[in-house]
């Protein structure tokens, strides 16, 4: 993991420049400008169809932009697919794993594909424990895991990759409050290690608790941006609802 924030003159770890995506007649994302530095947790809020997942897909290179650029450490995702992916980790709404493999074997597999194949099983087990999984669960098949446990393996995958930037797509959706709090604590620890986090979420409370900045999206556009230390929970809810009812 990166242990210090990006220095002066360094490009932001995640940056969108006029990033747009059109699917036929639908403008899924419209000229998004965004820059996330090391140690920042940027929460994208918005209803379904606002363009949050499209933004993440564009950073992952799963779809090509109709306009603009998605940059990771200054490198355009469209032209540096492999290099940018090696700097990113991704945790979806539901971390999906291989049921016939144990949590440790899943982590071993994803870590090795991410270029961290040399980590021993001991080290990987430690990472699973750091991510909140019980040590004795590591060797159990994933078919026995709860959603919360799978999300923890997802976090462990991101930690093992030692990625500079983390993309989270509704990561706490469906988690119970305790698991959500544990998840937020983990994100906090990653942030403190200098990881830049972009999190798409519906959860205003979690965005305020975990994020350093919040962007509210609607119809593919970023309609406003706030620092979480500038506002309280109630203010964030009010601003969000105001924009949703415009």
């Amino acid at each position: 993991m990166q242990t210090a924030e990006s220095g002066a003159g360094q490009p932001p770890l995640l940056e969108a420049r006029g990033l747009s995506k059109r699917y036929g007649a639908t403008q899924a994302l419209d000229s998004l400008d965004l820059a996330i530095e090391a140690g920042e947790v940027y929460c994208l809020l918005g209803p379904n169809g606002a363009g949050k997942t499209t933004t993440i897909n564009l950073f992952l290179g799963f779809v090509s932009p109709s306009g603009g650029q998605a940059l990771v450490s200054g490198m355009d995702v469209s032209t540096h697919d492999r290099e940018t992916k090696h700097r990113l980790a991704y945790i979806p709404e539901q971390v999906m794993l291989y049921r016939n493999l144990s949590g440790l074997e899943n982590l071993e597999y994803f870590a090795s594909l991410g270029g961290k194949g040399s980590m021993g099983r001991e080290r990987l087990t430690d990472i699973l424990v750091q991510a909140g999984l019980e040590r004795d669960a590591a060797d159990r098949r994933v078919s026995e895991y709860s959603k919360g446990m799978r999300q923890k393996v997802g976090i462990a995958i991101a930690m093992a990759k030692e990625a500079e930037a983390l993309l989270l797509d509704e990561p706490t959706s469906g988690l119970d409050p305790k698991a959500s709090n544990e998840f937020s604590a983990l994100i906090e620890r990653l942030r403190n290690r200098g990881v830049a986090v972009l999190m798409a979420t519906h959860d205003l409370f979690r965005a305020k608790e975990t994020g350093t900045r919040v962007g509210i999206m609607r119809y593919g556009s970023l309609v406003t941006e706030l620092g979480t230390d500038e506002i309280g929970h109630a203010d964030l809810e009010r601003v969000y609802l105001e924009h949703m009812h415009d």
Binding site: F62, M96, L113
Partner: protein
């Protein structure tokens, strides 16, 4: 050298497949069927070979101990010839159950082959007679489909494809790793079976030497290519299909067309394009032409032959000839019959070969037909090798008749019906020595099938590579 990412995908896929209960059950079933069919085929081939050897020895013994008799009576007494079972015939019995494996060689007739198990089998027996070739041609591709249809479609449906691609692994590495991992799991099933087959050839090859190990090596290569076609095709469909259900339905459709529809179409199309007479029609035609000749082939004229011989030997009466005119006439009749047989059987064989060519053409739409032709060819049980043996047996029959008629002609006089030859003549007649075709002969014969299978392999691999490269994440 295998790239780093591919190695990890191979290992994971291999482990995942082995832990999958469906694979374990399917592979136990297919493996058991394969081993049972190989074992059953080998035992049958050994038994047939032993019975043929015993029958051949008995036939020879009967021939040599037939006692003193007129050589023409001996020619009618005749002898049986048995088509040798080649080493790999226990893998694929090909057309043997339909064409028969023994033929009675006698004067004036080119007989049909006998011992056709298919003729005596009930419908239930035909269905139950599963050969190793059928398991390899039908069931292993089905197993490949069941293992592969979800390779990418399943990852996409579960959502793991997004996570995988987010790690930075390339689609090509992912696809190749998955294909090789599945191939590795299949190898656990097929390599032991191939080992059992090789051991069966080495330990107790039931057939005569006709480069059995080289044939086995090529046969292995053919089946590996066939399985690779199904693996690549399944990967391509799995990468393209929006859901696992769609991928499975498409691939099962391909399996049905390949294994059930195309062979039926090939049979009907070949019969329609190149019809063959019924056995009864064929026999009547031969009988009619033997009785009255054809426009081109006239029946021998005994009087003209006698005149010619008397002129040749400078005598006025047949009785004064230093040879037996009857023997010369019998030989001339044989040669007349031979021309009739060559004309009819030649046309029939040519029709069979044209029908075979139609099958090889239909293989463009179904690789099974190309593999089947190659498998039967390498096992020595295809129509061409049946023709090869039938020709050798017929050549032997003609030589035998020539010897009998020659002895009668040279050692007796016209009108002398008391002449009898003995053991010396029977023993001086060599037994049929048959050399099965070489591997080169078989491959040259089956070149169109090799080309078709090779084309299938290249096209499906290219299709898989193209589809996997464009596989969408959602």
């Amino acid at each position: 050298m295998i790239r780093h990412g591919i190695r990890h995908v191979i290992r994971k896929e291999f482990t995942d497949v082995l832990r999958d209960g469906r694979f374990r059950w399917c592979s136990v079933l297919v493996g058991a069927l394969l081993l049972v069919s190989l074992g059953h085929g080998w035992v049958q081939a050994r038994q047939a070979q032993r019975e043929h050897a015993a029958a051949r020895a008995t036939a020879r013994d009967h021939w040599e101990s037939q006692g003193e008799k007129n050589p023409h009576s001996a020619a009618h007494y005749g002898i049986y010839a048995f088509k040798p079972r080649l080493a790999l015939s226990f893998v694929d019995e090909g057309v043997d159950p339909y064409t028969g494996t023994s033929v009675w060689l006698e004067a004036h007739r080119q007989n049909d082959f006998l011992l056709r198990p298919a003729q005596d089998a009930t419908a239930a027996q035909r269905i139950g007679a599963l050969t190793a070739a059928q398991v390899l041609q039908h069931l292993v591709p089905l197993l490949i489909i069941l293992l592969t249809f979800g390779a990418l479609a399943g990852e996409r449906e579960r959502g793991t494809l997004r996570q995988l691609l987010a790690t930075g692994v390339g689609r090509r590495d992912l696809g190749m790793g998955k294909a090789l991992g599945i191939a590795g799991a299949l190898a656990l099933l097929l390599v032991p079976a191939a080992g059992v087959g090789a051991a069966a050839i080495v330990v107790g090859s039931p057939g005569p030497a006709a480069s059995p190990l080289s044939r086995a090596a090529v046969l292995t290569g053919v089946y590996v290519a066939y399985f690779a076609v199904f693996l690549a095709l399944s990967m391509a469909v799995s990468a393209w299909a929006r859901s696992t259900r769609t991928a499975l339905v498409i691939l099962l459709g391909v399996w049905v067309v390949n294994g059930l529809v195309a062979p039926r179409v090939a049979v009907d199309l070949s019969k329609w394009l190149h019809p063959t007479p019924s056995a009864l029609e064929f026999a009547h035609t031969v009988e009619r032409e033997m009785a009255s000749g054809t426009e081109d082939i006239a029946r021998p004229d005994r009087d003209a032959l006698a005149e010619s011989l008397m002129t040749q030997y400078g005598v006025d009466r047949v009785e004064d000839l230093p040879i037996n005119e009857v023997g010369a006439y019998l030989q001339e009749s044989e040669e007349f019959g031979n021309r009739i047989f060559d004309r009819n059987y030649g046309a029939l064989w040519d029709t069979f070969e044209r029908q075979g060519a139609v099958h090889e053409t239909v293989a463009v739409a179904a690789p099974l037909l190309a593999v089947r032709a190659l498998s039967m060819g390498l096992a020595g049980t295809d129509v061409e090798q049946h023709r090869h043996f039938a020709t050798a047996a017929e050549t032997y029959r003609r030589d035998l008749m020539r010897r009998m008629n020659g002895d009668l002609t040279a050692n007796s006089r016209s009108g002398d019906f008391s002449y009898q030859a003995g053991a010396e003549l029977w023993e001086s007649t060599p037994p049929l020595r048959y050399d099965a075709p070489t591997l080169g002969w078989v491959l040259t014969n089956r070149l169109p099938s090799l080309v078709v299978l090779g084309t299938w392999l290249v096209v499906t691999i290219l299709a898989a590579a193209a589809r996997v490269r464009r596989a969408e994440v959602a």
